[in-house]
Symmetry: C3
Subunit: 200 residues, 3 copies
């Protein structure tokens, strides 16, 4: 599957999470749009800056349009139908999966070391959501949450392993994407959390 389809899908679902989260707060229309854009574009922007690539949505404004359209559509639906609050976790997990795998791929193609590439995947996956949650005055899901960054990191490592095995093509990308999504969903469903670290 071409990278830009994955990217546009990731941008759209993350814009949706921004609108759903901002909608629970008393934020004005412009603020909702800002939070949707930040959730959709934040992770990839940081990845591109760190990798010294041109920022993706500056070069190709389709991403900006996709984020705005997805945000406005969510807005329209949310005014008509009452959406259950936890629904928001599904597009969030989907965005995490798409962006993590995309970020890892892009870093690998620039010949980054596997440790750097996997971290770049995690950053792409989680950063937009962190800024979204901070702007909405929520504890970032990544810190409180059930297998959030762990899911992302596992998927990034799985992608790197399949590449090392010379597996390419759609399955080598789809499998780790699905893995991130399922690990995250399993984490939410069975409330699996990492142990907390407490110093003596």
């Amino acid at each position: 599957m071409p990278q830009d389809v994955l990217g546009l899908a990731g941008v759209a679902v993350c814009a949706v999470t921004g609108v759903l989260e901002a909608g629970r707060k008393q934020i004005d229309l412009f603020g909702v749009v800002v939070i949707a854009l930040v959730a959709a574009l934040g992770g990839g922007t940081l990845r591109d800056l760190l990798l010294a690539r041109p920022v993706f949505w500056v070069v190709d404004h389709d991403y900006l349009v996709a984020a705005l359209l997805a945000g406005l559509a969510t807005f329209a639906v949310a005014r008509l139908v009452r959406l259950p609050q936890r629904l928001f976790l599904i597009p969030d997990a989907l965005g995490l999966a798409l962006f993590t795998i995309l970020g890892t791929r892009i870093a690998l193609e620039l010949n980054a070391h596997w440790l750097v590439a996997s971290l770049m995947g995690v950053i792409t996956g989680v950063f937009g959501g962190i800024v979204r949650d901070v702007l909405c005055n929520e504890v970032p899901l990544v810190f409180s949450g059930e297998l959030y960054a762990t899911a992302a990191w596992s998927g990034a490592l799985l992608l790197i392993l399949t590449r090392a095995q010379d597996m390419h093509g759609d399955i080598a990308v789809a499998a780790p994407t699905v893995a991130v999504f399922l690990i995250r969903m399993a984490g939410i469903h069975w409330r699996i959390k990492l142990p907390r670290f407490s110093m003596r």
Copy 2:
């Protein structure tokens, strides 16, 4: 009017807002200088990173000197005369206007798409103030405020329209700058706010 005059004026008025806001808090001298610099240089720095340009104040240290001098002058005046609290909103609106139009122009000159260019203008205009307010533990003016980003975006679009009409020169820049300032001032005076978005 050359870009660097607009830029220096914007940097100076934004440094003033940083000192005025930090002065209401119990922050030490160094902290006040940091907040003045962040308010003055933050928006343009993010714009330059996103557009992959050299960061303006790294290349030309005059901007750094202008920010420091404006900050110190404000400091000196504020110790002699009691300034009314709301005064701060005037340099803030001026900085918003100058930086929005400057940011939009720079992006247009790099042949950015109009949607990207207008967003770049808004980012240049609002970002320094957002970080200033967050460091001072205030709700960012842009989120609580009366026609803040809306004023910036209108001005950016107006600039783009005049360009499309082949209007160049001082008026094509001055008109949208004045427009941003007046819309923001009207928003403050008549307390015009965007509707809040509330989901069902």
Copy 3:
């Protein structure tokens, strides 16, 4: 002393401060690793972005490994031995000293103006700690603290002076590094603070 030795030492001690601070909070294992990485890599990352250099840990993954190893070692020690809380201030001061001088040197080598170079040193020295403290929900040490940025700025200016005197080599680097550390330690010990700025 070569720059990468200074850099690796700075990364390691800053990762230690991240683990020690996060260990006082109820943060899960992944969060502790993130905070250690941010403390270790944050300042240098911002410096490299501002100077339009390749980001140091993306180019050379040794820094990432050093941060992870130092973090894990601290974690292991902190589970065995009860560490006094204020111990954390010593690696923090060491990291401030190493990163400030390294940042200033790098900026000078790129022919930055001395004012820009000294600011770049301060940014390299303090930024990782600011993000670490914000993520741990603490007031950044740099704002509340005793001679924090002042120590960094003095050291940066001292390095610039020795360069201007054509002094090179190990002493010209070691002296300002030790100066930053000692000024900061003196500030903590005698509780020296800058005057607070209060507006009328």
